[in-house]
Amino acid sequence: MIDQKTIEHIAKLAKLKINPSETEEYGRQLSKVLNHFEQIAKIDTTGIEPLVTPTDIDFFAREDLVANDYTAEQMVSNAPEKAGQLFKVPPVV
């Protein structure tokens, strides 16, 4: 069972503000999903490497060649707040 404290800790890690009723709801639902997962915990996986990419794909690396396809202006054009061509956030010192 996932308790309120754990939910608050997760919300803090995930940087999500959630209200008390959400805290309660998420706690319940997450417990349910994780309980469901308990059946998997019983499977013997000794010595098995976890799978990430499910198909066999050859390693690919790119050449060290500069592409200059975008302007700084384009890159900041979607910014909620900016100053010149810099992104603007609260003071973080």
């Binding site: 390693f59 790119r62 890159m75 956030v89 010192v93």
Partner: protein
């Protein structure tokens, strides 16, 4: 080398972040030049826009392998990029791509000398990761520039083998020297292309258990590395001696006050939730890939120093100085090879050339005097064509004009006079102008011989071949 720190032994490990000198970022094709305008070297990938994906730069892999080999590391045939998840405005994706449990280089070591004593430090690992962007703080707000976000870094992690502040600084200098030799990093601490984080703890001499470590961050010169660690060792011993404990924290060094201060405590340690980045396949290398890169490795400084001593007969001190930079060592070696006189080459490079270069803040690769020209100058001296004194005049002219020594000598008539007939004439006139000294000499006061040599050299404007002058003078005076 054991230094007594009031009965304590410091245990130091260092993480060096080496910015690799690739043309583009580690995971996208943005340029990496320092002088770009705000956010000019960015793209949807480096700004972390939705759906964008990282694709690894071949050159970054090559540089990592090169460095790993130079540090005597085992290069892993398979390494994995993970995501280090945390929120910070300089981190556009909300995670940093970094190698975590499977780094590209492991288990290396380097040797260097500290005050003449050899020191060996193990390299635990070296892994590839991406740099973060740059925050500009005004107090009221913070502004973000992502030009630096995604520049490739190789983080070299030493074992906890360092036992003094001196060793730490020397370790750092050695790493810097190696990456510059490999031409994978420009090694500029002030611009941040090389960054040093030092983990420092102390324990009673003989104790096995490690003390609580403190991390010193963002120190921008090796001189300050030494000072910061010395301060930190003292501070920790003071704490312990007064019955207090050391708290695990990150501290910064203030060079003006020569002290360290708390940046953040590690009480609420971050949970980075590392997991393998599904956007990047494991980095797979063949033995051939690694061998091909091994073949491109230059002779490393420690080997070069040894060879300069053993084969070229240089002193340890001279060899150290001449191998401090690869270009300098190459300049010296080329000079020596061309003229056949390594000792003279070493002297000319270290004394005359380095003085001028330092005065005018010119790098060896931009030296107006080439190794070939310097070698010609040394050959002219060795061949008796000019005197050592004239050579210095010629050298000065070479520096100014970039001309060959031969052409300078010819143009300015500085060639050494070795023509016996010409010298006899000069000597005869000196003798006839100084009859009383001639008489003194012939009466047995042979000490005045030096006076005649000086007068002849003066009369010949220093160009007379001193050996011949000695011979002819002696003959003339003794004949009398």
């Amino acid at each position: 080398m054991s230094i007594n720190y009031r009965g304590y032994e410091p245990v130091i490990g260092i993480e060096v972040h080496v910015q690799l000198k690739t043309k583009t970022k580690i995971f996208c094709s943005d340029a990496t030049n320092f002088n770009a305008g705000d956010n000019e070297n960015t793209s949807p990938i480096s700004v972390g826009m939705p759906g964008t994906l990282p694709v690894i730069n071949k050159k970054a892999i090559e540089y990592a392998i090169k460095t790993g080999l130079a540090l005597d590391c085992k290069i892993q045939k398979k390494s994995v990029f993970s995501r280090k998840n945390y929120f910070y405005p300089d981190l556009p994706k909300g995670y940093q791509i970094s190698q975590y449990d499977l780094p590209i280089c492991e288990n290396g070591n380097i040797k260097f000398f500290v005050d003449g004593v050899e020191k060996q430090v193990s390299i635990t690992r070296a892994h590839l990761e991406e740099d973060a962007g740059k925050s500009i703080h005004t107090g009221e707000f913070t502004f973000l520039n992502y030009n630096r976000a995604g520049i490739p870094l190789l983080e070299i992690v030493s074992g906890p083998d360092i036992r003094s502040a001196r060793e730490a600084a020397e370790y750092g200098r050695t790493i810097r020297q190696i990456v510059r030799y490999l031409d994978v990093c420009d090694g500029n601490l002030e611009e941040g292309s090389l960054r040093c984080d030092c983990n420092v703890s102390v324990r009673k001499v003989g104790a096995e258990k490690l003390g609580t470590k403190v991390e010193l961050k963002n120190i921008n010169s090796f001189r300050f590395v030494e000072k910061a660690i010395d301060y930190e060792i003292d501070r920790q011993i003071d704490q312990l001696e007064s019955g207090k404990t050391i708290s695990q924290e990150t501290r910064l060094y203030d060079p003006d006050k020569n002290r360290t201060f708390t940046m953040r405590t590690k009480e609420n340690a971050e949970d980075y939730r590392y997991f393998p980045d599904p956007d990047l396949l494991p980095l797979v290398l063949s033995a051939d890939d690694i061998e091909r890169i091994r073949k491109t490795l230059p002779e490393l400084p420690i080997k070069k120093t040894e060879r300069f001593q053993k084969s070229l007969g240089l002193s340890k001190q001279d060899a150290d100085m001449l191998t401090s930079e690869k270009e300098l060592a190459e300049f010296f070696e080329l000079t020596g090879q061309s003229c056949g006189n390594y000792k003279a080459s070493a002297n000319w490079v270290m004394v005359e050339l380095l003085r001028e270069l330092n005065n005018e803040k010119i790098e060896i690769k931009d030296s107006p005097i080439t190794a070939t020209h310097l070698a010609q100058l040394i050959s002219l001296i060795d061949g008796g064509k000019i005197s050592g004194k004239i050579a210095k005049t010629v050298f000065a002219e070479m520096w100014k004009s970039k001309n060959s020594p031969q052409s300078i000598i010819e143009k300015q008539g500085l060639g050494q006079v070795s023509d016996a007939g010409a010298l006899e004439k000069v000597i005869e006139s000196v003798l006839s102008e100084n009859p009383s000294q001639v008489a003194e000499y012939r009466s047995g006061k042979t000490k005045v011989f030096g006076f005649f040599v000086g007068a002849v050299m003066k009369a010949s404007k220093g160009q007379a071949n001193p050996d011949m002058v000695n011979g002819i003078l002696k003959k003339k005076l003794d004949q009398g």
